[in-house]
Amino acid sequence: MMGNNTLDRWFSCRPAAGVGRVALAEVPQLPYPAFAADMRALLGSVSGGADFSESNRCVAYFAVPDAATGGLSFYALVARDAEGDVLVAGHALDYYHEGFLESLSRDIPVLHVFEREITELYGVHFDGQPWDKPLRYSYNRHHRDDSMDTYPFYTIDSRDLHEVHVGPVHAGIIEPGAFRFLCDGERIVHLEIALGYQHRGIESLIAGTSHRLRQAVLGESIAGDTVLGHGIAMAGILESGAPEGWRGCDVIRCERAVALEMERLAVHIGDTAALCMDMAYQTGHVACEALRTLVINAMQQWCGNRFGKGLVRPFGANYRLTLERAKHIESTLTEVIGRYRTVGRDLLSTPSVLARLEGICPVTRGQALRVGAVGPSARMAGVRRDARCAFNFYPLEGFEPVVVDAEAERGNGDLLSRLKMRLREAEVSYAMIVAGCKELAGKWFEGYPAPDYSRALAGESLVFSLAEGWRGEICHAALTDGAGEVAAYKVYDPSLHNWTMLALSVRGAQISDFPVSNKSFNLSYCGHDL
């Protein structure tokens, strides 16, 4: 196979604490056929079946205009858990190139979002792209005449099927997105999700300023429910200018780990509440709602904001997790996790609850691998993917991600698996927070650095940062210019991949199952739309 010859030309980067950088000159530029063959070798299925790689995944694939030639430069990042590295390579498209590049999405469905984004921005279509539709109708799209109103929904001309359209304004306090169901009676045949209503142009805003604090707060606003996940990923980029990346301070890194786990714990409990609400189980709903309040109020006592805004800053922080605050967090969360355990026992022993969850809206392990699911959405289907084990610094020794083994537990990535996922992951988060607080208690005498907004990023480089937010793997990537300022910024929220999981989960289900399945994934609209 041709790929074997060029695969060793990819630049292998071992990220330190999730952050890696490659000088632009060192990014290997491959001819497109070789690039395509390598991508197939890395990400494709060997037999043409469902055996897509569990360890390898494409975390970023984007194009930027090349001012010198007028063409496009492409960059791809493939993370490999088994090797603990990230492979980087690129290819270029000449301005005068005739015809279109061959689409890889047919063989590697994961790539459809990346290819669609490139097509939307630059009008460069991929030959044979099976789902050539706009991704988010960004303001700088190539075809300005296309708008949200002309989204080409998939339709079937049939007398037996009918369509149900929901959104973008939904019957609740949630973000906008449009859902179109193709139904056979009550049974859903197909669901198509059209997003883009939340597009705020955040990537251009980050690249358009050199004000570090402004960049940091923009990072916190990518998704207001994943403030810490995105904040930490962005801090990694902003700290890339220090030699060998910024590994200066264990106290800060440990604090970030604690904060990230607190966010995960709060959201998992909140999602349990939302799930209970949608299956009309009032006891679980109100109990979890109250528990979530305790966790986010503990966060407020630490940094003054219930969502952790203001906590993560480059090269330091403003709100130290003092012994007193750590003790308060520990005692609050010990109370919370005890009560949450009881709620979990209650849920799993109540037949009416189980009947609503078992076998409903399943997604198989094969499907999850095929669409490139990440985070809890993947782990609940038995796919072991967690950026925490390979790339991040964590205070807990021997961290092992929670994976709900769908086959062994006779589930099939159904609603029950998603609930169990949350119940178990909350326990791990709690253990990590306690371990982190202990570790910090032994470092109270160490210095505490203040944020530094004056330092440049690594110059002339491709910088990337990976963090495991509560929805899954977050990837930020930046191209920097000679002065160490951001020239182009890319944000990849886990929802980008996981929305397809939601669409697959409701096939064959009833429309009334959709709200429950939607809550069980709890994906981000603004994280997708940016």
């Binding site: 304004v169 609740g172 906008p176 939340q198 705020r200 606003s221």
Partner: protein, 269 residues
């Protein structure tokens, strides 16, 4: 089974905050800022103004801070502790845009809610029941979650007859979060048009009030707010549920601290 359910309920206990009028948030919470320009040189003043990521602070003469632009990130208070201090005062809402601008010499506990700026029919129509329709137009989901929390078991604003409703046809007003993205502009307008008169418009969070970080983004279209003027501005990033609840109660004419009987006489009911 049943015993576990009972245990859950026992542990749950009573969760609602009994007296919402007397809530005090923790000292770390960043609410109404207090400003002092004494001793601030012109150069340091320029640095302070330049520090703010949304340009909410201006200097000369005297310091002012526009809470409609403020992200409450607290960076100014960390770097200039002599000049800016954030108190834990969460009553920040205002019926006018100018009411969000904090000047020097304003006391921390002072909430200048300008009751005279509120349209009289709002109190008359909605004092006992206000049903709102929420539209997120580019909000980052933190304001949305806090609005959801305002109705949860802890804050329970439903006790005052303030609730969120599923359809604009059932609503007395619209709550907007987010900077209003171009892709959402038309949907926001049609939701507003679908609400019957008389109706109220409430802007929640820095994004909705001024555009916040996204004010200059080409992906944002704020024509909606050029045509329709909000009846209430609720600042914050995100706005705390208490900020929202106290603001809306003030809007519909429930002056906190004034006994209900006196209130009734005042409005002639």
């Amino acid at each position: 089974m049943l015993l576990t359910s009972i245990k859950v309920l026992m542990q749950h206990g009573t969760q609602y905050i009994r007296h919402l009028d007397r809530v005090k948030l923790c000292d770390e919470f960043r609410g109404r800022p207090v400003l002092r320009s004494a001793g601030l040189t012109a150069a340091a003043g320029a640095e302070l103004c330049g520090l703010c990521p949304t340009g909410a602070i201006s200097f000369g003469p005297g310091l002012t801070l526009d809470m409609g632009k403020c992200l409450f990130c607290g960076e100014c208070a960390v770097r200039f502790p002599e000049q800016v201090r954030f108190t834990n005062e969460y009553r920040l809402a205002s019926p006018t845009r100018e009411g969000l601008v904090v000047t020097e010499g304003q006391a921390a506990g002072e909430w200048n809610f300008d009751y005279s700026a509120v349209r009289p029919e709002i109190g008359r129509m909605f004092r006992r029941s206000l049903h709102l329709r929420e539209v997120s137009a580019g909000g980052d989901n933190s304001c949305e979650m806090e609005l959801g929390a305002a109705g949860n078991v802890n804050f329970d604003m439903g006790r005052y007859g303030i609730e969120f409703t599923a359809s604009p046809r059932h609503a007395d007003g619209v709550v907007v979060t987010g900077p209003v993205t171009a892709n959402m502009a038309r949907e926001l307008e049609s939701t507003w048009q679908a609400v019957p008169e008389p109706k109220v418009l409430i802007a929640v969070g820095v994004d909705a009030i001024s555009g916040g970080l996204f004010a200059d983004s080409p992906a944002v279209n704020r024509e909606f707010f050029e045509v329709h003027k909000p009846d209430l501005y609720v600042p914050g990033n995100p706005a705390h549920p208490m900020t929202f609840i106290t603001g809306v109660r003030a809007l519909i004419g429930c002056r906190t601290g004034v006994p209900a009987a006196a209130e009734d006489r005042e409005t002639g009911e």
